[in-house]
Every structure is written in C-alpha cells, then in structure tokens.
Amino acid sequence: MFVALLVLGYMFLPIAFVVLMSFNDPAGRLSYQFDGFTWNNWLNPCAPAGMCEAVTKSLQIGFLATVFATLLGTLVAFALVRHRFRGRAATSLLIFLPMATPEVVMGSSLLALFAAAGVAGSLGFWSILVAHIMFCLSFVVVTVKARLAGLDSTMEQAAMDLYANEWQTFWRITFPLVFPGILAAALLSFSLSFDDFIVTNFNHGNTITFPMFVWGSAQRGIPPQVNVVGTVMFLVALLLVLGGGLLQRRRPQ
C-alpha cells in the first residue's frame, strides 16, 4: 500500500506542478518557475493568442470523434458479440491492430495516404477528426464488447417474455445495461482524442489543436494559462468520474 501511494505520488507530481503553475505570475517572458501567486491566469484564461481557439478546436474534435467512434464502435461490438458472420477472426485482428500500432506509424501512414491521394494540402479539421475516430474506434469496440459479453442474455429473453418487442427490448433493457460500458468507452475516446499529439501532428494542416498549441508555445515560452486548461481538464475528469460513480451508487430507497 505504501509503495502504491508512492507510485500515485509519482503520477501526481507533474499534475501538482501544473496546478501550481496555473497560479504563477511569471517575472519574465521566458519563465518556468514559480515567481509569485496570482489569480490572473484563471481570470483571463484566454489571454494567450490562439489558445482558447485551440482548446475549442480540441473540444470540438474530441466531441465529434467521441460521438462517431462510440457509435461505430458500439455497432461493431454488437455485431461481434451478437451475430455470427464470416471473417470474425479477421475482424478481431483488424480491431486489434490499431491498438498495436505506434502512433508515429499511424500518423505517418495516414499522411502517406493523404499525400498519395493528393489531398495533403487540404488537411485540417476533417483529417484530424478522421484519424481520431480511427484510433478511438478500437478502444470503443474492446470496451463495449467486454460489457456486452458480460451481459446476461436471459435479461433480454425476460423482456421479450414480458411483451417487449425487439426494439423495446433493445432500448429498455440491452441499451441501459450496456450503457455504462458505452459511457466508459466514450470517456476513453474523448481523453484519447483530446490528448493526442503525435497523430495530429502529422495530419493537422493549418488547424491548431490544444496539444499543437502547447507544442508550439513550448518553443517560445509556455503561457501560464496552459496550466489553467490542464488543471480544469483534470478537475473535470475527476468530477465526471466521481460524479458518475456517485450517481450509480445513489439509489432510491
């Protein structure tokens, strides 16, 4: 347990630093040490030019990638668990491979394709989105599939037995029961997309996402507001997951 707490400490050291620096009042232009406390960064989060636009882009892409990957991935998971078809092994392999491919390889091969297709010049929002959906998809399939496979099929039979047709059975029973898995998959997708740098770096064209912004500003001096965004995202994650847990636990008497 002690070792575990140490490891947790190790995991949180940089985050603690990020939180601290979000209150930094930098003395010079290129400062990355704590020079003094201020609320300014929190009060003016959008002061650094382009940062909030980048965050917005990342949120948009994250949201859309999550929606599409979750949708497509959930369908695939259902097909894999509930249907019989040819090429099941090949399908599983195809789902697994993106998870076993380093991001550089994924990013570079996408770029190679776009270049060969002659669209390398118009990369941007859409190409980032397409790539993010692609690499989130596998994680969604795996997550939803696990939940679905653990679902007791007698639940659905019981529903049918209780006068629910296929459609009602799906929406009233199957979907709510698989939903926590779908939600987990969506959360995972969003974090993967929001956090992605490498694949995006290959295919972003002129579009600047938050990680791209951080990378760029790292070369000229990071504005402390970047830490505000980092802190907020961390808190949002914490609240989301803890809140979700509480919601699940809170049950009518």
């Binding site: 010079g28 300014n40 270049a115 390398a120 118009s122 990369l123 760029g216 070369q219 001096g221």
Partner: protein, 366 residues
C-alpha cells in the same frame, strides 16, 4: 509515386481580397518584434507597439503569429499546402535566404507589386538589393538581418570564446546546444575544418559532419534547437550555445549575464525575408506592411527592440532620436570590420541540399 511540388508561375494565385478584407496573417519568428507589457483589465498582456501603429494607420488587422522556429520545420508545416496549391492560411512569412530561395524556386511565392512599396524601393540597404536567388527583389523584402554566434550564461560558466570550445570544453559537457538548421551549424563546422563555407567540397562537408558526430557521441551537445534555445539558456539548462545575435540582447533585459560573442572562427550572417505565399489572399495588405516597416523611424524603433541588423537605410539616423546609445551598436549597425568576419554558406542545388540535410539529420538524430 508522388507528383513534384513545383508550381508554374501564377498558377496558384488567388484573387486578392485586400480591398475588402482589412486584415492579414503574418508568420514570424519569436523574439522578432518590439513588445511592450501593459496592464489590461488587471492582467499583464503583451502588445506590439509598431504593429499597433500599423494597424492604426492602415485599418488593417494583423494576425501576428510566432510559429517559425526553424526554417526546415516551418517548410514542413506549409509544404503540403503549397505543393498542393492550397492556402497555408498565412499571407506572409519571414524565412532565411536559402529557404526563401527554395520556395521561390518551387514557384510557391507570389511576385510583389513594387508600386505598393515605395519605401522599400527607396530605403532597402544597398548590400541587400540583389541576392543571387532574387536579384531584383521581385519576391521578397528583408525583415531583419542577423548574425549567428555564441551565447553563454556568465552566471554559470566562464567566457566561451570559440566554437571549438563549445564542442570540446569538458565543463560545458551536456550543457551546450547547437542550432537545428544545417546551414547554421555546418557553417561553423566547416570553418573548424578549415574549409570555406562559401566554397567547400563534399569531402570537407563529410569531415565536418564527422567532427560534429564526435561531439554528439561524446555527450557534449545537449540539443539541436530552433529558436527555443532562448528558453533553456535563460532557464539555465543550457549554459552556452550557438545563438542568434538579437535574441541574446533581448534576453539580457531579463538576465544581464547572458552574453553574445563573436566566436574566434567568425560569424554567420543572414537575412530573413518577408515573402507572400501562393493562395494568400491579402497580398496588397502584406505589401503595405512591408512598406510601413521600411520607414526609417519604424525600422529604427523595431531595431532598437529586436537588436538585429536593420536592413533599412536611414534607420541609423532615425535611431539618434529613439536611443542614441544604439547608434553605434555593431549588432544593429555593423561596421566593415565586423562584416569582414562574417560568412554565409554557398548556395546548394536541391540534390546536394537534400543529401547534406540527410547527413546532418543522421547526426542530430532527428
């Protein structure tokens, strides 16, 4: 296979919307424009005084981004669009001679309308009027010129006099950075080999690479950087480095112990040139910008802050009014003695360029 990236002249030009859209986007290097920190609504923000003047005078809103860190890196960022006859989203950027040359050669740069830029016509320094790659300055106008030399942090180390020391002094081991652009760094390596950067052979280049590789393998070099060396230098992670003159003078405002020196081997001299890429839709606005910064007073104001060599005739006189102490600053207005110690690398055909770049990349590991 893929298509070549060359574009025929005039093939990729878009309609200029400057008349209706009073705006433009300029990509430049960091530490390359005059700044001022002002309080605004409780928090400090950075504003650019000359830029504000320009906006005020012309009514053109300028999106000024400092996303150029290294010529090659930036080339990588815009090459797909330009090769594909797509917009880069930028109306203008400032690139160093050889890169500007390469882009012009690729047909990616729009010709400028001199009629819109009387100040440039009038005030551009004589020595910069006809570079081999744009003899008539049809495509480009220098933003600033500068020198590449050595910077060190006197808090953390003794004086560093030469490039050779940078590569060999054991007390600097692991705390030295060099520039990630082949042209910058290899110029000095060639000098160390006793070769003339303006006229060297492939063997000399290979020997220079060999020497660099030794230093890298020995762990002497901590990083090959673009403009971001300024950060590690001021943080103290780097105690000495290959650096660009003006940057260092600017850093001295925060830390006077950061020094710039001319290495015993010599200095590199270069210019960064404003160019307007294909598909830029605000060329006329960009030309207005160029013209604006070629007014001697504006040029002097800029130079007083950035401390780079000013390409504008008459700026020296204008400087008298702004900051007389800078009139004799060799880094802004270099004299013949200093210029005699400067070198630049010879032009390379694209095949050789690619080959040399690859050899360099193999050493820098990136």
């Amino acid at each position: 296979g893929t298509q070549g990236a060359k574009q025929a002249a005039g093939e990729c030009v878009s309609k200029d919307l400057s008349a209706t859209e009073k705006k433009m986007k300029f990509s430049n290097w960091p530490l390359y424009i005059d700044e001022k920190r002002v309080k605004q609504g409780g928090s400090k923000v950075t504003v650019y005084p000359t830029l504000q003047k320009f906006e005020d005078q012309t009514g053109i809103t300028v999106d000024y981004v400092t996303d150029i860190n290294d010529n090659n890196e930036f080339f990588g960022i815009v090459r797909n669009q330009l090769a594909d006859c797509q917009s880069t989203g930028r109306d203008m950027f400032a690139l160093t001679d050889y890169m500007a040359a390469r882009m012009i050669d690729l047909g990616w740069i729009q010709e400028l309308d001199k009629a819109n830029m009387p100040n440039v016509e009038a005030n551009l320094s004589e020595s910069l009027r006809s570079p081999s790659w744009d003899p008539e300055r049809k495509y480009s106008a220098p933003w600033q010129s500068g020198l590449t030399g050595i910077a060190y942090n006197a808090d953390l180390t003794g004086e560093v006099k030469s490039f050779d020391e940078l590569l060999t002094r054991s007390d600097l081991k692991g705390k030295v950075s060099l520039l990630s652009e082949m042209h910058d760094t290899m110029l000095f390596m060639l000098l160390l080999e006793g070769a003339d950067p303006a006229d060297f052979t492939a063997d000399e280049y290979a020997a220079a690479i060999e020497r660099l590789d030794k230093s890298v393998q020995a762990g002497q070099i901590r990083a090959f950087t673009g403009n971001e060396y300024a950060q590690d230098l001021s943080k103290g992670n780097i105690v000495a480095c290959e650096a660009w003159s003006g940057d260092i003078i600017q850093l001295q405002f925060d830390n006077p112990n950061i020094k710039f020196i001319a290495p015993e081997e010599g200095l590199a001299i270069w210019s960064d040139n404003m160019i307007v890429p294909n598909k830029a839709t605000h060329k006329a606005n960009a030309e207005k910008w160029m013209d604006f910064y070629y007014q001697p007073e504006i040029a002097a104001e800029l130079a007083a802050w950035v401390n780079y060599i000013c390409p504008v005739d008459g700026a020296k006189q204008a400087m008298e009014k702004i900051d007389p102490s800078l009139v004799d600053n060799e880094l802004i207005f270099p004299g013949q003695d200093l210029l005699a110690k400067t070198y630049s690398m010879m032009g390379l055909d694209s095949k050789t360029e690619q080959d040399y770049q690859q050899q360099f990349a193999a050493v820098t590991g990136a």
